[in-house]
């Protein structure tokens, strides 16, 4: 699987028009300088030779060096991974805080005004483009109310409260959109579970509605929600490009997009490989969670 990913990315980025040396030396017209650099970086070799060389280094645990800044790919990524992971975790927290009560209430009070609020929120959250929500949040909380910083990043683990404040707006932007998806998923899977026989049995036993929902419905409705969250976690870490761009956050998403624009081959290949590994791991975690949530699908 990973080999396929590496080969695909390698082929795609090398087949894209554009040349890293041209980008780096756009103002230089000295052909010999460019040719020397190309030779030094091995870019004058046929593509399969370059791929073999890259795979060889990869097997020794070396992801190579960025063409643009000359630093090891792993250093570039390690500098960027922290904001991305923190943002993903906060966004996930925002989405759960919003979506759990909203999803449960929407399902439990189906076709009431609570449900309508929940579904309208979900509709807005899914329809509204990320950048628009980001700009609206910036305008309200940054420019008008001046409660929160607009752009830039401080590490919450080092700077504490100011660091957390710097992540609030981006986390809301990502979290609210995710909350919309989770609300809808939770609502529909809860509605499905509410129609099951075991729910009727639980009610017949005289359990309170809250206990029915907590003990029987919610647990059974969680599988699709966990699937959605698991898939989104990977996207949040590697793919929050627009949010990172708007809030000037130095995350992995921006790193890979900048690298694509600069045709920084080793950096693109390295980061995509790491993101792919992240996806595989988060899917694995989801699979393991299934077993914990629902003993019927426990692996033997």
């Amino acid at each position: 699987m990973l080999v396929l990913v590496t080969a695909g990315v390698f082929a795609l980025i090398h087949l894209t028009p554009g040349d890293p040396i041209d980008v780096m030396m756009a103002e230089s017209v000295d052909d010999s300088v460019k040719a020397n650099l190309r030779r030094e970086l091995g870019l004058d070799q046929p593509i399969y030779v370059q791929y073999a060389a890259w795979m060889g280094r990869l097997l020794r645990g070396d992801l190579g060096r960025s063409i643009r800044n000359g630093e090891p790919v792993i250093e570039n990524v390690s500098r960027r991974i922290r904001p991305s992971v923190q943002l993903a975790a906060l966004a996930m927290a925002v989405s759960l805080l919003v979506a759990t009560p909203l999803g449960i209430l929407s399902a439990a009070r189906r076709n009431t005004s609570v449900d309508r609020v929940g579904t309208t929120f979900a509709l807005f959250g899914i329809c509204m483009p990320n950048f628009l929500l980001a700009l609206l949040l910036i305008f309200c909380f940054g420019v008008k109310l001046r409660w929160l910083p607009i752009s830039g990043y401080l590490d919450p683990l080092e700077d504490g409260w100011p660091g957390l404040r710097s992540l609030v707006l981006p986390a809301l932007t990502l979290g609210l959109a995710l909350a919309a998806v989770v609300t809808r998923t939770l609502r529909s899977s809860m509605l499905e579970a509410l129609g099951e026989d075991y729910v009727r049995t639980a009610r017949a036993k005289g359990l309170s509605e809250w206990r029915v929902i907590r003990g029987h419905v919610l647990k059974n409705a969680l599988i699709p929600v966990v699937t959605v969250l698991g898939l989104q976690l990977g996207t949040l870490i590697g793919g929050a490009v627009i949010t990172e761009y708007v809030f000037a956050l130095p995350g992995v998403g921006r790193l890979v997009v900048d690298a694509v624009f600069a045709r920084d081959y080793p950096l693109v290949q390295g980061v995509v490989l790491l993101i792919a590994i992240g996806f595989i791991l988060s899917n694995l975690a989801v699979d393991l969670l299934y077993g914990w949530i629902d003993p019927r699908i426990r692996y033997r």
Partner: protein, 521 residues
């Protein structure tokens, strides 16, 4: 003979008037510099928002405009520019051109690098040699006319030129003239790219660069020039890639200066009483290159048909929102070489149709416009597409990213491609590399090879008298309007925006933000 500052064809009043005309009102931003009549005070941190991050701290390896913005505060060039683009002394206090191929520079005494080492003639020789021999040097082309550098005495150097080069002085006002401490280069090597501590002689010294977050410089307490600033304690640069967010950060008081206001935002910034907007006319020329090496634009009449079908006034008004002026050629109105008697090519549909017939395509022809996928470029290409359609020319728009644009241009894989050149103080930088017949890679993407143009370009380098050079550039501009290797659209203005507490900023049309005299109220 000692050369004094060139006699610019526009004085400051005209220059500002030009901005005012272009933007429809006298820019309130001028208050930024006039307010400096108050007594400047020391202290404070200036927070600057740029659209992207610096790429390297080594001026000899740099190919990015943002880098230059920072360098002009920590390094100093041998010569500098004034607001009229006149050449002023920098680290060289005077210069003499004894004969066309010899340039003598008398260096300033008592200047020290921030690492404590002396600036002298040996340093100059070391720097030029590095620019010429360092394998990754991006400056090789700019100093190509320098054959060798002789140290005459500790504070005098003689530049022996390969050929007369009238543009060299202007070249030495930017990165090719910036002097880096040899000690830093020898001791730190490649690390200089990330850490410029002690490397310059400028009014500010490098403190730290936290990649993707900020770059910090502080006042150089032992700066040689004791007149005026530096006043600021620190300058903190931050990359904010989104233009809207960058402006909102300024409005919210998170930053104090932004390097560029998008034309679409200029009106709003002017209307905001809490901001000061300043129109800085630039040296830039935004244009399209027409590929002469293949059909359809290997036929001159068809290039002319396109030029006559385009309405520059409408584009500048509708797309650029008058944040710029229609271009008559490569030389911008800020330059001493600008000839205002030459009008920009006017739209003339009858002429366009006649040229189509002359080119053998009376009912029009299809071709592709390649341009960057940036909103204003896309809008411009769409307007051109609509204007050309009126004479039956069917333009297709191909949107590409910067890397593809470069590769398409270098490999001449285009019909008509946008080219946005930030400009150079000497008109040579806006012309020679675009139109001179050159084998291999150059910015001559159009593939033009015209003996008359080649001869004119060479002559502009040989002649040192500015009035004569100006005549040559006028002749060249007319010839380019006839041959049309490029269709020039606009000379944009570079609007900058400040918090009202920023004082003393002097706008120089090269767009660089020098903070030596800047202070905070």
């Amino acid at each position: 003979m000692r050369r004094s500052a060139p006699d610019a064809s526009l004085d400051r009043r005209e220059f500002l008037h030009l901005c005012a005309l272009a933007t429809g009102a006298l820019a309130p931003g001028i208050a930024v510099s006039s307010a400096s009549a108050q007594t400047p005070k020391k202290g404070g941190t200036l927070r600057v928002g740029f659209y992207l991050e610096a790429s390297t701290m080594d001026p000899h390896l740099s190919g990015s405009k943002v880098d230059r913005q920072i360098y002009h505060n920590i390094y100093e060039p041998l010569l500098t520019l004034d607001v009229k683009l006149g050449i002023k002394p920098g680290l060289a206090e005077s210069w003499q051109q004894l004969e066309p191929k010899i340039l003598i520079l008398k260096l300033r005494k008592g200047v020290k690098f921030q690492d404590g080492t002396d600036f002298n003639a040996e340093v100059v020789r070391f720097n030029f040699n590095r620019m010429k021999t360092e394998p990754k040097s991006v400056r090789k082309g700019e100093v190509a006319s320098i054959e060798s550098v002789d140290v005459v005495d500790p504070y005098t150097v003689k530049l022996n030129l390969r050929r007369p080069d009238a543009a060299l002085l202007a070249t030495l006002t930017d990165r090719a003239g910036m002097m880096v401490s040899p000690k830093v280069i020898q001791e730190r090597g490649a690390e200089l790219e990330r850490n410029a501590k002690g490397a310059g002689t400028g009014p500010f010294e490098f403190v730290e660069w936290i990649k993707d977050d900020h770059l910090l410089i502080k006042r150089n307490e032992s700066y040689w020039n004791k007149h005026g600033g530096p006043y600021l304690d620190r300058v903190r640069y931050r990359p904010i890639p989104d233009d809207t967010v960058k402006l909102q950060s300024l409005q919210a008081g998170e930053i104090d200066v932004i390097d560029y206001v998008q034309p679409r935002d200029v009106a709003a910034v002017r209307a905001d009483k809490n901001l000061v907007e300043l129109d800085v006319p630039s040296l830039a020329a935004f244009a399209y290159q027409l590929n002469q090496t293949r059909p359809p634009f290997n036929v001159k009449a068809l290039r002319q048909a396109v030029a006559y079908a385009i309405d520059l006034d409408q584009i500048v008004k509708g797309v650029w929102l008058n944040v710029g002026v229609p271009a008559n050629g490569p030389v911008p109105p800020t330059s001493w070489a600008y000839d205002k008697s030459i009008p920009a090519i006017k739209r003339d549909l009858a002429k366009a149709k006649a040229k189509l017939a002359e080119g053998g395509k009376p009912s029009g022809f299809p071709f592709t416009i390649t341009t960057a996928n940036i909103p204003i470029n896309v809008q411009e290409a769409e307007v051109i597409q609509a204007q050309l359609a009126e004479v039956g020319i069917q333009a297709k728009i191909k949107l590409v990213d910067a890397a593809t644009q470069l590769s398409d241009g270098n490999s001449k894989n285009f019909d008509m491609i946008s080219y946005q050149w930030s400009g150079r103080p000497d008109p040579d930088g806006n012309t020679y590399q675009f139109f001179k017949t050159t084998p291999g890679t150059s910015l001559n993407w159009s593939g033009i090879s015209n003996p008359q143009i080649d001869a004119l370009l060479d002559k502009t380098r040989e002649v040192s008298n500015q009035a004569e050079r100006k005549k040559l550039y006028s002749e060249l501009t007319k010839l380019l309007q006839e041959e049309l290797p490029m269709i020039y659209i606009v000379h944009p203005i570079e609007p900058k925006a400040f918090s009202p507490k920023v004082q003393g900023y002097e706008p120089i049309p090269d767009g660089m933000m020098r903070f030596k005299e800047v202070w905070l109220k």
